[in-house]
């Protein structure tokens, strides 16, 4: 017989926990939970906070390496970038809120990921974002794009952290669930990193930042459920952000972190005061005693339940060393932010909350955190699709038209309309951003000649058709993009966006993507240091394409040797590193020209990937290469078009051999780079490639004002630019 506390009914219990988890909570407490406790169990055991469906798989990721200072489990990953400095980064999803309320959803996504980074003591230096929207002609798409872009810009621009890059895709698979993944990168001294661990009994718990209001209550639970037609009614669960407060919070926190007052720190993100306090207590093996009357409140008569579950933004929780409270008070008062001591750590091992003089919660902490449910959900392997090779497809009737059609297609078109709304230069250290012809964004390490290279990548259509190869490819492409700008790839963060894990094939997509990603991370020595899982991206039973977004970070030791693809001049020799077999399965060409989305994606040979990439990086460093661009979406045709547009110099390509021309031009074979090389250095480069066993093919010469192929196909740079720039303004109803 299920027992209930006073005022709790089966219906109320059901809205908080599945019945088996409810029984587990009763067992842990030795009695029935009251409403506050029920709320706390509910958020702590939500998919969003507990990773209950994904943990068994995430364990497969390689998370250690020579440069890893902190892997997954803290607010963000930390890697060593030499000279006593560390780079701190993480990517996180804000998908559900952004669909319901695009401006605030996206804005608070940026705010949340920034807090994850500065919570660890880092000054944020760059923001990135990976966005997936529905079909361009879907009635909600324009409104969602407009709101999300304004929200990202509105928050990042005000906070004063440059938004330097990202990616944007459109596909009908996201009609009911857009993806907004935001990534933040920060810098700190390697010996001044702050963690959630470190609390000891008898230390004051100090709340800082904004007041607690009734917004965002149960946001974490919303983010752990499917959408249906009534999802718009969930708008009150979306938080409202204030970047002005965040900017003050960054400065105040960094000021406090320069003192020795802090024992542990955690931002109040999903599940707010509950998860921040529980995580710090759990990691320090201490208990908590908090008086909710002391919590700064925005509204009158807030209940304990509301305070513990509120996701009001721009709040942080510090556990200070005893006697250091005044230091924090002085700093936060100067910045005109709320600051209050709301309790202390204890040796009870329990979370005890009082409100209006009564104990409203008494939960043993260990079982709450450690005994969270973990599911080994059943999953099914995807059925592999056959490869689609060029010789199975008829050639396009008009190659010029095919190239132009590709370059105006949603995924390959210029996203100027979007990134023009982001401040990409604030902090004055941006060396390459969305506007620059480079495969990764580059931000100078302030006051040095080193650069951090950053990229976000994922090809969901590959993951849909072959989750293992798709998973590998997402990691490999991030690694390749960092390589193409001359960086040493260091580590990744990930944002695993999938549908409902309670369905076998969705859980299978997740498991297989993780399998592929893990393998790539191992072979490329590119460990996972932080990440986030977003499941239940489904509406009325339709799931998004599997989208394991990867955020990669690398180091450029000498910024003067960074590489881009805009520096091509007439007479340069054009070459391709890597072999082309003409894989057109799941390619952009197949989608755009044949209206087909089937086929096995191009296989990823990780050993070849590493060999080719290491060669390219070495040659960039030695000054042998003038321009370098990775070959990915749209194959050689897209990369060559982009290189020609960026440099204002034509490329004249010649195809020889048996491979049909459309396979050579549009195949998306992996591990390839397009290079432009000074004629005087071409011979030596070819010799070096031979010596390294790397395939290097001369495919043409730069010159003129068009992309030409075999002297027959001729597409002017002006035409390429015109179509490439036309998609976004047309979509947004702002075309001239």
């Amino acid at each position: 017989m299920t027992q209930f506390a006073e005022g709790i009914t089966q219906e109320i219990a059901d809205t908080h926990l599945p019945r088996d988890e409810y029984e587990k909570a009763v067992e842990i407490l030795g009695r029935a939970p009251n409403l506050v406790e029920l709320g706390i169990f509910s958020v702590m055991w939500s998919e969003h906070c507990s990773y209950k469906s994904s943990r068994v798989h995430l364990k497969k990721f390689p998370v250690t390496g020579e440069k890893v200072i902190q892997g997954p489990g803290e607010n963000a990953g930390v890697v060593d970038i030499g000279d006593g400095q560390a780079c701190i980064f993480k990517m996180e999803s804000h998908n559900h809120p952004s669909y319901i309320e695009p401006y605030q959803g996206a804005a608070t996504g940026v705010g949340g990921i920034l807090r994850d980074v500065f919570t660890m003591g880092a000054r944020p230096i760059a923001l990135m974002n990976a966005l997936r929207f529905g079909a361009p002609d879907h009635p909600k798409t324009r409104q969602l794009v407009s709101g999300v872009v304004a929200g990202i810009g509105g928050y990042g621009n005000c906070v004063g952290v440059p938004t330097v890059g990202g990616e944007t895709n459109f596909h009908a698979g996201y009609n009911g669930n857009i993806l907004v993944n935001a990534m933040a990168v920060g810098l700190a001294d390697a010996d001044k990193i702050f963690y959630a661990r470190g609390a000891e009994p008898g230390q004051p718990i100090v709340y800082v930042g904004s007041k607690t209001g009734r917004d965002g209550i149960h946001g974490a639970t919303m983010a752990s459920a499917e959408f249906d037609d009534e999802s718009d009614e969930k708008r009150p669960t979306v938080q409202v952000g204030d970047p002005f407060v965040e900017k003050k919070l960054i400065e105040a926190c960094l000021e406090l972190m320069a003192t020795d007052a802090i024992a542990a720190v955690q931002d109040m993100g999903a599940a707010g005061l509950t998860s921040s306090s529980v995580e710090m207590a759990g990691k320090g093996q201490v208990g908590l005693l908090m008086d909710l009357d002391k919590v700064p409140q925005r509204e009158d008569r807030m209940t304990a339940y509301e305070m513990m579950l509120s996701e009001s933004q721009e709040r942080m929780l510090f556990i200070l060393k005893p006697g250091k409270e005044q230091i924090a008070y002085d700093i936060f008062n100067k910045w005109e932010l709320d600051v209050a001591t709301i309790g202390e750590t204890t040796d009870s091992g329990r979370m005890v909350l009082t409100h209006n003089g009564e104990t409203v919660c008494d939960i043993p902490l260990d079982p709450l955190a450690e005994d969270a449910p973990m599911y080994e959900r059943p999953w099914a392997r995807a059925i592999p699709e056959p490869a689609v090779m060029a010789d199975e497809l008829s050639q396009p009737k008009d190659y010029e038209e095919a190239i132009l059609t590709l370059m105006v297609s949603p995924d390959l078109s210029s996203k100027r309309w979007i990134w023009r709304q982001y401040d990409r230069h604030v902090m004055a250290d941006t060396a390459a951003s969305s506007e620059d012809p480079a495969d990764a964004a580059i931000v100078r390490v302030h006051g040095t000649n080193k650069g951090i290279a950053i990229t976000t990548d994922c090809t969901p259509r590959y993951c849909e058709n072959h989750p293992i190869e798709g998973g590998k490819q997402a990691v490999a492409e991030a690694w390749r993009n960092l390589t193409a700008v001359g960086a040493d790839p260091i580590a990744i963060t990930d944002c695993m966006n999938f549908g409902n894990p309670e369905k076998d094939h969705i859980m299978g997509q997740f498991a297989e993507c993780v399998e592929g990603m893990s393998e790539a991370c191992k072979v490329l020595d590119f460990p996972v240091v932080s990440g986030n899982v977003s499941l239940y991206n489904e509406t009325n039973g339709f799931a998004i394409p599997p989208t394991p977004a990867v955020g990669g970070v690398g180091l450029i030791p000498d910024l003067s040797k960074r590489m881009g693809f805009g520096n091509v001049s007439a007479g340069d020799i054009v070459m391709v590193v890597g072999d082309t077999e003409g894989h057109l399965g799941a390619s952009i060409y197949l989608r755009v020209m044949e209206n087909r989305e089937d086929g096995c994606p191009p296989p990823v040979d990780l050993v070849v990937e590493k060999r080719n990439g290491d060669f390219v990086r070495e040659q960039i460093r030695s000054g042998a290469i003038k321009a370098c661009h990775d070959l990915s979406d749209g194959g050689l045709a897209a990369a060559a078009s982009e290189m020609a547009m960026a440099s204002g110099t034509g490329l004249n390509l010649v195809h020889e051999g048996d491979l049909p021309l459309h396979g050579w031009l549009f195949g998306e074979d992996q591990a390839r780079y397009l290079l432009a090389v000074d004629e005087a250095k071409a011979k030596a480069l070819r010799a070096a490639a031979r010596a390294a066993g790397v395939p290097l093919h001369v495919i043409g010469i730069a010159g003129g004002e068009a992309l030409t192929i075999n002297g027959m196909i001729d597409v002017s740079i002006a035409d390429l630019k015109a179509v490439n720039e036309s998609f976004m303004p047309t979509l947004m109803g702002e075309a001239d």
Binding site: D242, K247, Q421, S560
Partner: protein
């Protein structure tokens, strides 16, 4: 040359401004918190940096325009000493009445960030002497409210007195007569929407902003 950069809550180009000043003068400026009521003794030059002072609440620059430090900045200007406001700093100078006109929301209604081609309209000022009149330069812009407006009489007067210092080549925000930067009548207070402090380094954003600081701080 002693410089001061005013820091408001929400300023976010204060560090960039300080870096530019230090690069040109070799001395770091004093960072003056908005709640101060006096500038450091012997301050020669005051810069109001970009950002979102007070979160742009009420109206860009409106609250900063009445903050504690402003009387000291006004006194500095009235004494004929140089004051430069960039982006939000320009908005603040307008709110204080040290410069005429208004900065409205961009005509596109979008925030706009790009490297903006400008023309130097008047190189005979202490802010622009390092340039030649009519020289074309590229300086980054990043703002939501940079659409300069003034009545025709004011615009005519600005033009007539050589107070228009920079003009957009490719008007990104709807500004009247393509105006990107202006000075006061006396020529010692200047405001501009583009960010010269982001263009002091060839490797990062170009170096066309350097001459402005060199003109002013005299180390060219």
């Amino acid at each position: 040359m002693k410089s001061a950069v005013i820091v408001f809550p929400g300023s976010n180009c204060d560090r960039d401004a300080a870096m530019a000043i230090e690069k040109v003068t070799g001395t770091a400026p004093a960072m003056v918190w908005h709640q101060e009521t006096e500038l450091p003794d012997g301050t020669d030059f005051v810069m109001l940096p970009g950002g979102f002072s007070y979160g742009d609440y009420l109206r860009c620059g409106a609250m900063a325009g009445v903050s504690h430090i402003i009387p000291a900045v006004k006194a500095h200007a009235e004494a004929g000493k140089p004051v430069l406001g960039v982006c939000n700093g320009f908005q603040i100078l307008i709110e204080t009445g040290l410069l005429p006109g208004a900065l409205m929301r961009n005509a596109s209604l979008h925030f706009v960030c790009e490297k903006s081609p400008l023309r130097v309209e008047n190189a005979n000022t202490q802010f622009t002497s390092g340039y030649a009149t009519n020289r074309e330069i590229v300086i980054p812009i990043a703002h939501h409210d940079g659409n300069y407006f003034a009545d025709d009489a004011t615009l005519d007067r600005l033009e007539g007195e050589g107070q228009v210092l920079f003009r957009y080549q490719n008007n990104p925000n709807g500004s009247a007569r393509d105006i990107a930067g202006i000075a006061n009548e006396r020529g010692n207070v200047m405001g501009m929407m583009p960010h010269p402090e982001r263009a002091i380094d060839l490797d990062h954003g170009g170096s066309d902003g350097l001459a402005l600081f060199e003109s002013l701080l005299g180390s060219a």
